[in-house]
């Protein structure tokens, strides 16, 4: 049977899934709100982990963390099944949920998702979709980053839920059991901001948060000297792809987070939040400038030391701005 699930087009997979599942239960939480309450803003620079030879730069927290934190803070009762040993058991549990009319979120790998456009067929296992119905052995899937709902066969769904590679999903699934209407939204927002501040400013690992951004800025300056020209430009293009392409809503989630701050500021009538939302928007524009500028010389591979220094300076400026923003937020979230 197919439940009356309403699919909304969203920018990022996990916030989209979270807000849609909550809306289905009657709790109106928008996508930016889910981003803020779930503390989705993050930065990590891991030079020792190489993706196709380029250092890994991450802008998102671990998968399903946004869902977990958002629901926890809104007092929503959920079930998260972390992993299954048996593949058939995972599908049976999903079938049982669908029979009871519960839309269920699943962590999947992108590569074998048949409906995605060709350039999104990458081995990336942090994707989230909602399965909301089954009819004649065909599953109905709400894909947050596409406009319309899609269908998948049993075999295909099994394959994407147990995709192989780095960070395997292992059939992870999650669903909402019951919600409390009229939650304490102020408490939830402040708790979300507090965790974000901790992640960006006070994280014990030096590669994370503002410190990580500074480290990346310093390293970009060294690239043209240390690395051959094609490797340096390849590193840069991978960075730009993570900033703009992987469902970030533009500028590495900064715009989504900015709209969260604005929405929260309007809801709570809070001046500092409104003020920081404007600053966050400006930081987002800086990130955009970074990707546009780096696009200019990547193709020709004749980026000089000056070009790389300029890009590094933009990142360092972003770090300084974000430090200021989160220091302000730190004061109000106490």
């Amino acid at each position: 049977m197919i439940s009356d699930y309403k699919h909304n087009f969203s920018s990022h997979c996990e916030t989209g899934v979270t807000s849609d599942l909550l809306r289905h239960k009657g709790l109106d939480i928008s996508e930016p709100m889910a981003m803020g309450i779930g503390s989705g803003i993050f930065f990590s620079y891991l030079p020792f982990i190489k993706m196709q030879g380029a250092p890994m730069v991450g802008f998102r927290t671990t998968p399903t963390k946004i869902f977990k934190l958002t629901t926890q803070r809104l007092g929503v009762k959920t079930t998260v099944v972390k992993k299954f040993r048996d593949q058939l058991e995972a599908m049976d549990l999903l079938d049982r949920n669908l029979k009871n009319g519960i839309p269920t979120g699943c962590q999947v790998g992108c590569y074998h998702l048949t409906y995605l456009p060709p350039e999104m067929h990458v081995h990336y296992n942090f994707h989230n979709v909602v399965v909301f119905g089954k009819e004649d052995g065909i599953y109905h899937v709400a894909e947050p980053v596409l406009e319309d709902t899609q269908i998948l066969t049993y075999k295909d769904l099994l394959r994407v839920r147990f995709a192989k590679g780095m960070f395997e999903p292992k059939g992870k699934m999650y669903y909402i059991e019951s919600v409390t209407l009229n939650p304490d939204i102020k408490k939830a927002i402040l708790a979300g901001i507090k965790t974000s501040v901790k992640n960006m400013l006070k994280h014990p690992i030096p590669f994370v948060g503002v410190r990580g951004m500074r480290m990346l800025g310093r390293d970009i300056k060294k690239w043209p000297k240390k690395l051959p020209a094609n490797q340096a430009s390849f590193n840069l293009i991978q960075l730009v792809r993570t900033v703009e392409e992987f469902g970030t809503g533009g500028a590495a989630f900064r715009f989504i987070y900015g709209s969260f701050l604005k929405e929260a500021g309007e809801k709570l009538n809070h001046d500092t939040l409104l003020e920081t939302s404007i600053e966050m928007g400006e930081t987002g524009n800086l990130w955009r400038e970074f990707s546009i500028r780096s696009g200019r010389f990547v193709k020709t591979r004749n980026g000089s030391q000056d070009d790389y220094s300029l890009l590094a300076d933009i990142i360092l400026e972003c770090a300084a701005k974000e430090e200021k923003i989160f220091n302000k937020l730190d004061k109000i979230s106490k």
């Binding site: 087009f9 969203s10 920018s11 930016p32 190489k50 993706m51 196709q52 030879g53 590569y111 074998h112 995605l116 456009p117 060709p118 350039e119 999104m120 990458v122 081995h123 980053v145 596409l146 406009e147 192989k164 590679g165 780095m166 430009s233 390849f234 293009i237 991978q238 730009v240 792809r241 703009e244 392409e245 469902g247 809503g249 533009g250 500028a251 715009f255 989504i256 900015g258 709209s259 604005k262 939302s277 404007i278 928007g281 400006e282 987002g284 524009n285 955009r288 990707s291 546009i292 780096s294 696009g295 990547v298 193709k299």
Partner: protein, 131 residues
């Protein structure tokens, strides 16, 4: 974020799908818009894809010249690195790196070839012959 109401990818290698963007304008308003990537974004992202296609073509040339095995070509085509490939196929990293040599690749058993073919989602014949 610049958005466009018309499809901008003229390249046949790419599908065309719209995305939801959040953007910020100078008056301090955050807005949502649905559309294709704008001109400036497209140029940047297209360059990234050009770079990948260049790498793939380079790998293809090497395979035809007999310098590396077809596994390298398919690895580049799937945008993975050796470590990721070893996880996908369930073969240890040092073995995967060894299989990059054409001499070693020729002697691989059906069973190992099947593991690679499944990881790349192709048939064994396709794996052996790079077009």
């Amino acid at each position: 974020m610049e958005t466009n109401s018309d499809p901008v990818y003229t390249d046949k290698r790419h599908g065309q799908y719209r995305e939801l963007f959040y953007n910020y304008d100078k008056t301090g308003q955050f807005e949502k818009s649905v559309g294709f990537h704008g001109e400036t974004d497209r140029v940047t992202l297209q360059q990234a894809w050009d770079l990948f296609h260049e790498r793939i073509e380079e790998a293809r040339g090497k395979v035809h010249a007999g310098k590396v095995s077809p596994i390298v070509y398919y690895m580049e085509k799937n945008l993975v690195d050796p470590l990721n490939l070893s996880m996908l196929a369930g073969i240890s990293l040092w073995k995967v790196k060894r299989h990059f040599k054409p001499r070693v690749f020729k002697r691989l058993s059906e069973k190992t070839l099947k593991k690679y073919a499944e990881a790349f989602n192709i048939s064994i014949e396709e794996l052996k012959n790079v077009e």
